[in-house]
Symmetry: C2
Subunit: 322 residues, 2 copies
DNA sequence: TTGTATGCGTTATCAT
DNA sequence: ATGATAACGCATACAA
């Protein structure tokens, strides 16, 4: 029984007799043999591993994405190497380098900042397929993209609030260095335009995703001479900050101010009153990302693709009729 | 310039002249050379990789643990391979096998069930150090453990409720197949004993961690002829279920029933009223787990250790004075 | 169908 | 201090 026969059995090569297969399997069992995937990877020139870069696993959004993707990869004998950037572009770049040297077969990334040269260069040096999560990177032609229809979702949300009679709607969203924020602000403006209304520019605050930012900006705007009557939080972390701020000011969501958030997380559902959200199937994002990565790993000729996932507005108590 | 010199520079071997170091570094820059960590791992006999098995990254507890551990590993040039079991013992076993074949240098695991033979065997076959998260596995001598003082925390919580005058306190907690549940039930009983009171056995429900279980059991107990006046949820996922149930029954936490949960997550803090929790530093768990893994990777002679992390009771509006 | 031999990119040992 | 070389464990091309 030669080494090569063992290898063939383990990789279910077609040219192997049933007798040999049995013999090899028996010997493996007998000796407690464990194939060394590092060696196999070195020989094959791949690692059967996909690298992830996300800002923070505490964010239920990324937890869902990574979990769903990992499950999908697992079914195809791939593993997930997960790294976090803490929302810092420098760490995005660093992690891209780390994962490249680890010879991951693909990269799935949610960049903190899609405009940073260093990150783009770092990603560009990666040989395998890159899948961007809700990002648009100038000059990275080699990347597939999983996007969400933030445009549609935000437009629907803003129009709903306008239809309820709100005119001073505040929009908190992430930095304009990432694509979803840009799209949300655009769609928000469009909703006002469609109603033939002037946009309250001072209420549009694309600042960042952290709860602290949401807390600070909410307090700031609500204390101003002409405060908003409604607020849209562009992310579940921002919502946390907004709610903290409201509590501190003694204001009630849905009572003193209408509230809409993005993504349905336990907090939005269980808050009293429950929070109206622009929802999407977050697990789907991870699943699709994994598939887009795998299709290009297994067929390098496969061109990068772009998939847009839908949103839907879930109406709840935080946006009552006036 | 020989291969071996390059290797020496890259691993900052002492015997290398400044001149050679400069030359090698220049060449690396020039050629855009990327070391292949798979090959290095094969040669060295390690992968500079730690494998994780947790039930679910959506659980903020595991998100925190994995994030903190990953960060710690990263600082030492290790990567984290993350897998999820969905709370199924069979998948725990499967993932242990997968990670073993990937030649991870250590395993950090939060088992769904610490009594399952298959899982214990699978872990036992792993050569490197194992770090158990809040688990106690019979016959796995080779494992370090990061524990929480659930005993102290639960005892304190129960005594607090008893001191407030509650006599019928319900305890929802995970299955008795994991150590924390066992300890919580024990500590809960002890608190009653210390007050010289009989334990309301029918209110102790160690069933599982899923929200649905919390929802079902809460409804069941609250609809009974003599419902509890207080409830302790042994996990943040259970809390979600409990709150759903209360909402459906039209009951208010802190108003119609006193409520205590475990671990401080956004939901417990932002709920109205805020939920009293048995708190602990969850990020610390991940950090310690990483350190316990690394210390035994780098010194195989280092014996397994057990670290117990403290808890503290954070009093909030859900447990008012009567 | 099976066995033999080579090389993947490193690190480590030995010689220089 | 540096260079040459073997070996890590596997997959594959080729020979049998």
């Amino acid at each position: 029984m030669a080494l090569s026969s063992v290898s063939r059995v383990l990789n279910d090569h077609p040219d192997v007799s049933e007798r040999m297969r049995k013999r090899v399997l028996a010997a493996i069992e007998e000796l407690g043999y464990e194939p060394n995937l590092l060696a196999a990877g070195l020989r094959r020139g791949n690692s059967r591993t996909v690298g992830f870069i996300v800002s923070d696993l505490h964010n239920p959004l990324f937890a869902s994405i990574v979990t769903a993707a990992q499950r999908e990869l697992n079914r195809r004998s791939y593993a997930a190497v997960v790294t976090t950037s803490d929302g810092e572009a420098a760490r995005d770049a660093e992690m891209a380098g780390v994962l490249r040297r680890r010879r991951v077969d693909a990269l799935v990334v949610s960049l903190a900042d899609e405009t940073k040269d260093r990150v783009i260069r770092e990603l560009g040096r990666f040989e395998g397929p890159v899948v961007l999560l809700d990002r648009k990177v100038e000059g990275l032609s080699n990347a597939s993209i999983v996007e969400t229809d933030h445009d549609g979702g935000m437009n629907q949300a803003a129009r709903h609030l306008l239809a309820l009679g709100h005119r001073r709607i505040a929009l908190l969203t992430g930095p304009l260095q990432v694509h979803p924020s840009v799209r949300r602000v655009e769609a928000f403006r469009r909703a006002y335009a469609e109603h033939g209304l002037a946009v309250p520019e001072e209420l549009i605050r694309p600042a960042g995703f952290a709860p602290e930012i949401g807390e600070k900006l909410t307090a700031e705007m609500l204390r101003s001479p002409s405060p908003p009557t409604a607020l849209i939080a562009g992310g579940n972390q921002l919502l946390t900050g907004v709610l903290r701020s409201l509590r501190r000011l003694g204001l009630g969501a849905g009572k003193d101010i209408a509230l809409v958030s993005c993504d349905d997380v336990p907090l939005s559902e269980l808050h009293e009153p429950p929070i109206t959200v622009i929802d999407r199937d977050v697990a789907r994002i991870g699943e699709v990302a994994a598939r887009l990565a795998l299709e290009r790993i297994e067929d390098p000729a496969c061109p990068p693709r772009r998939v847009v996932l839908p949103t839907s507005l879930v109406l709840r108590g935080s946006t009552p009729r006036l």
